[in-house]
Symmetry: C2
């Protein structure tokens, strides 16, 4: 699958009002703790790849998801290849990755408020140590990438965020630059 | 956790009788399809490591498990570090590993009949293209390795397999040698 995504820095209150006025469906708030890995055989940052182990705490308890993100294929909407699966044990997965030579690069903690609007997912992220962000995202098959890129851009306009600067940097990169790394 | 394991080549019929006479509990038969990976940055065979994605079909449907096996710490009982977790999607996990540079090294298919006897697991494996084997195994924490090594050996004696030659080779290695690789 491909992830088509735009991220902007924006205060949540006006966006939340616009989402409610537009009839978006609220899907609750989750806590996410993301651990990003460095690879033993590749420079993930230079190659624009990422490997992430996410623990997400929902109302029915925590669940863990492993995600590989491939290099960006398109800049404006950060389209990437993504391979993602639920895993049963975060500790065992992290131990296996460590034994294979992967090492913990960074930890990103955030509160994520989720909405669904037409075929897009909108998230209002409060990232610990970095601030408030809004992401508009669609996950699609290869033949639907262009249509999804248009939809993501239209949705951003509908939320009053057309003029917001699109961030190409990940939370990981933002955290690194904020802490002067 | 540590896996303490002995494997012997043995016909299943007499072992099954001994298991039943000893009061072992039958836990049914499963089909296992194992995919082993080569690493992009290490020679797993030379380092005596393995990375395996197993799809196991039980009565309630298939489930997938990812396992990293570390080098043998002790020869007679093939004690190893093992990190194992259930994964939600075999295809996504395999795609992520492939994107990270891991490649499929081999595929092993077997029918596994499972028994529990005291604190050991006994499996009667019919490996496609290789033959019939019996494994006696215990999964334990570090402080219980020695006790488990004794128990595995005693259980092997109780099953009438004390004189059978202990195989140090994996099914993967047996398959490779049988096919003249």
């Amino acid at each position: 699958m491909y992830e088509v995504e735009v991220k902007v820095r924006a205060d949540h209150d006006p966006v939340r009002s616009n989402l409610e006025a537009a009839g978006a469906t609220a899907h609750g708030t989750v806590e996410q703790v993301d651990v990003y890995f460095d690879a033993p055989h590749r420079d993930f940052a230079a190659r624009d790849e990422a490997l992430r182990l996410r623990e997400q705490t929902e109302s029915d308890g925590p669940r863990t998801v492993l995600t590989y993100k491939g290099p960006r294929l398109e800049e404006a909407t950060k389209t990437r290849t993504e391979h993602e699966t639920m895993v049963g044990s975060r500790d065992e997965m992290q131990a296996a990755l460590t034994a294979l030579g992967f090492s913990t690069a960074a930890r990103v903690e955030k509160t994520r408020e989720r909405y669904a609007f037409e075929d897009c997912t909108i998230t209002l992220d409060h990232v610990a140590g970095v601030g408030e962000f809004v992401e508009v995202e669609a996950t699609v098959t290869e033949d639907a990438i262009e249509r999804a890129q248009d939809r993501v851009t239209e949705t951003l306009e509908e939320l009053g965020l057309a003029d917001s600067e699109r961030l190409q940097t990940s939370y990981l990169e933002l955290l690194a630059s904020d802490s002067g790394q």
